[in-house]
């Protein structure tokens, strides 16, 4: 008793604060509750939340460009986009593409960029086949200067700077990291090669190219680096290094392994390095400035490109702009999806309300029988139901046959009721009707008949009693049913796919197309995200206007 009059916290009998004591007492209960919901919680997290998060991420994710051609992205950063990039960019592209082609990742980049600019896919594919040849020139030249350049061990010794030399560990780990990003995996273990610090100062390109080669050979090909002849790209890199006048001077003072051969090579005449010409020769599209603009535009790791695409816009050099009229399809599809979902919801209300009313007002036994009829569609395969509508509605179908037989429609002008919006609305209204009837029914069941009687005893006609007293109380059921039907309808796929033809398809059909046919998952994810956002906004608006407390699914 005295505890409660104290100003301090209330204490339990044993002197611990009452709040803590209570928490402890409830903990076991809470843990048990948590354990009970844990299976579902984990399932939802894994099967629902995670995929949605992944989808949201995919809709903006664009790391493939930076991961595949990082040096090119770096070089393009300062490019003004006014003219075809210079030789530096092409050289970076050569080394990037060489590694990507070895890892067979260049075609993925090509497909990715092809979403933005058609032709990109073949550009990368054809050039990927040619990069070996572009480097071959230099490999042959070095072999002529000294046969040592054709020896795997010689290269290994030269690039590692000999036993006991100071190593450049950062360079090799950078290359491993790059390879990891390219292959979207992680490697562990030692490559067995560390570039020499001195040689990597003198021949930076060569050291980097050899390190990339070493990492790839060890981790991907699982070979011993010192036993493998370096790639053509390494020879090309050496040529690039030797082209620099300062290199010869630095080599003069160098005495590590292979120094003589290198000095010999520096003194010799090498084939000219013109990667730009080589690329254009491989595919003349490399000289088209818009291709390079696309690469530059989509080089950041995150992009709004998919979303812009999903709202019929595109990135141009002048900034964001609406696509030309004939390329705008998603706005139309979104509008159509909304319109048709609303029509379906409305039809469900009109058809479902009287049924729910009868269900709620029939004696239990008859109501159960009718309920089975309402639920029957649930027990039939969705495909069967949809196909049945096809049989009903097609031009040689049941309804048309009957109309023709009755003489209401001429045989040559049979009604087109399928493969258009009408067909989709009819079939989907039928399929979604139970979702409207059930919540309406469960709400109507809770409205006592006494209200209607009361209204009539107060002098209201049947209609007034219904409209002023019964209907307002059934609105929560209509609300719940409408939300359910609308949200289901807006993302429906199978039925519009089968009966929708070209004018009756939904945005979901387009999403499915991008997921399974065009493989543009980013765009599919962006469209899906917009759909999700639309649903959430509508839900929010509904909450503001009607109030979500007024939605009753039962009781």
């Amino acid at each position: 008793m005295s505890d409660t009059t104290d100003t301090g916290p209330v204490l339990a009998a044993d002197g611990t604060p009452l709040k803590r004591s209570l928490r402890r007492a409830l903990r076991a209960q809470k843990m048990r509750a948590l354990a009970l919901i844990a299976p579902l919680l984990i399932f939802v997290l894994v099967a629902f939340i995670a995929p949605i998060a992944d989808m949201l991420f995919r809709s903006v994710e664009n790391q493939i460009v930076g991961n595949t051609i990082p040096m090119t992205v770096e070089e393009l950063r300062d490019w003004d986009g006014a003219d075809v990039p210079d030789e530096q960019v092409f050289r970076a592209m050569f080394f990037d593409l060489f590694l990507a082609a070895e890892a067979k990742e260049h075609t993925k980049l090509g497909s990715r960029l092809n979403y933005e600019q058609s032709g990109m896919s073949s550009l990368f594919r054809t050039t990927g086949r040619r990069v070996d040849n572009m480097g071959k020139v230099f490999q042959n030249a070095f072999k002529e200067i000294s046969p040592q350049f054709d020896d795997a061990q010689f290269w290994f010794d030269m690039m590692s700077g000999g036993a006991g030399a100071e190593g450049n560990a950062r360079l090799i780990s950078n290359q491993i990291g790059r390879l990891e990003r390219l292959e979207a995996t992680t490697f562990s273990g030692d490559v067995g090669f560390v570039p020499g610090a001195a040689i990597s100062d003198i021949l930076p390109n060569t050291a980097r190219a050899y390190a990339a080669f070493a990492a790839f050979t060890h981790f991907v090909n699982e070979d011993v680096v010192s036993e493998k002849k370096p790639w053509e790209a390494v020879h090309a890199a050496l040529a690039v290094d030797l082209e620099e006048p300062a290199t010869a001077a630095a080599l003069a003072a160098y005495d590590g392994p292979g120094a003589d051969a290198l000095r010999q090579a520096a003194a010799a005449e090498l084939p000219p390095i013109d990667m730009k010409a080589a690329f254009v020769d491989a595919n003349k599209d490399w000289s088209r400035i818009e291709y390079w603009q696309v690469i530059k535009t989509y080089s950041p790791p995150y992009t709004t490109g998919y979303f812009l695409n999903a709202v019929d816009m595109e990135k141009t050099t002048q900034g964001v702009a609406l696509r030309s009229d004939d390329e705008r399809i998603y706005g139309l599809l979104f509008k159509r999806t909304m319109f048709m979902s609303l029509m379906i919801t409305f039809s469900c209300i009109v058809l479902g309300y009287p049924v729910a009313w009868i269900l709620a007002n029939l004696p239990a036994r008859k109501a159960n029988l009718l309920m089975i009829l309402v639920l029957l569609p649930f027990w039939t395969s969705l495909l069967v139901r949809t196909s049945a509508w096809k049989v009903m509605l097609q031009q040689q179908g049941v309804i048309n046959d009957v109309l023709v037989w009755l003489g209401l429609v001429a045989d040559e002008s049979r009604l087109v009721m399928i493969n258009n919006q009408f067909g989709t609305i009819v079939a989907m209204t039928h399929i979604l009707l139970p979702f409207m009837i059930l919540p309406m029914y469960s709400v109507m069941q809770t409205i006592p008949p006494a209200y209607l009687r009361a209204a009539k005893s107060l002098g209201a006609t049947n209609w007034t009693a219904f409209w002023r007293v019964y209907f307002p109380q059934s609105v929560p059921g209509i609300g719940a049913g409408s939300i359910l039907v609308f949200i289901l309808a807006i993302g429906y796929y199978i039925t519009p796919e089968i009966v929708g033809g070209t004018t009756g398809t939904f945005i979901s059909n387009r999403i499915a197309y991008h997921i399974s046919t065009s493989l543009n998952w980013g765009l599919a994810a962006a469209l899906g995200s917009i759909l999700l956002a639309v649903v959430l906004i509508l839900y929010w608006a509904y909450d503001k206007i009607v109030g979500i407390d007024n939605v009753k699914l039962g009781g």
Binding site: P448, S457, T464
Partner: protein, 367 residues
Amino acid sequence: MADTGNNDAFVAFERVQKSYDGETLVVKDLNLSMPKGEFLTMLGPSGSGKTTCLMMLAGFETATHGEIKLDGVSINHIPPHKRGIGMVFQNYALFPHMTIAENLSFPLEVRKIGKSDREAKVRRALEMVEMGEMGGRRPAQLSGGQQQRAALARALVFEPELVLMDEPLGALDKQLREKMQFEITHLAHELGITTVYVTHDQTEALTMSDRVAVFNDGRIQQIAPPDELYESPQNSFVAQFIGENNTLEGTVREIKDGLALVQLDDGGLIDAKPVNVEKAGDRTLISIRPERVEFNRERLSPDAHTLKAEVLEFIYMGDIFRTRLRVAGSDDFIIKTRNAPDQRRLKPGEQIEIGWLPEDCRALDAT
């Protein structure tokens, strides 16, 4: 008693029958007439047909046969909303999506009464039930008693001449129920409205009504003012249904000077007032109220017959004592005595003699 200046019945049931399934009758040949301003209660167990009668009067059920007249006019074919009868429902049936004022305004709106008139009437009705401040609230925000008052106000706001109430106090607790019983009767008499009240609670029926119609098995068993009903039940059903009652079975030995001598099945003899027994040899059920049983020999007339009884149980109930006896082979014979200073408290096991004034004991039909 209500003023019955108008001799013509205001509400009349004439040979009314009702069947739901075409095989059994729930209301069998009902005849009833009510003068204007009367407070009539229909009392009976569930399934006795009382609510059906009320619903027929309100127009929610149609009579299978017979005529129901309101103010001399047959209303059999008038739909409920044109009958102008106020009704209070069992669970109030206040419209949950409207405020109390809107609820009260509803019957006026459908009668196309102007806004200012409407507001005045609603205010007056709310004040009448002492709910003047509650007009803006929703039914869910009110207590049971307040909802009850609001429902009453709504049934009265359009000034009907007849108000029907279907067990309106069933959902209230005892104290509130007693208070509301008083208020409803008071209001009904003050406004001079004719009221038909349905309940299965006999105390309610007795305390509120001018007349009570006891229903059983689709028939009115007895229709009488409360005191008459309690003290002079016309048959054994009414006797057992109204108030607490002791019954003993026996055969009429003789009827003489308006007094029947009944031989109980165990041989004991006792006096009773013949109500619906006619001649010696009739089987009968004699009925005696627990508070009219006397065990003090001195207070009975010297030639009165008495019965032997054994005290089984003595229950102290505060204002009264309740004693259970074994009389004539029956173990549930109850007597009630007032808790007075000189009152004798019987002890279990005690052997006593009981008797009563012949006019307190009624010899009824033996069913």
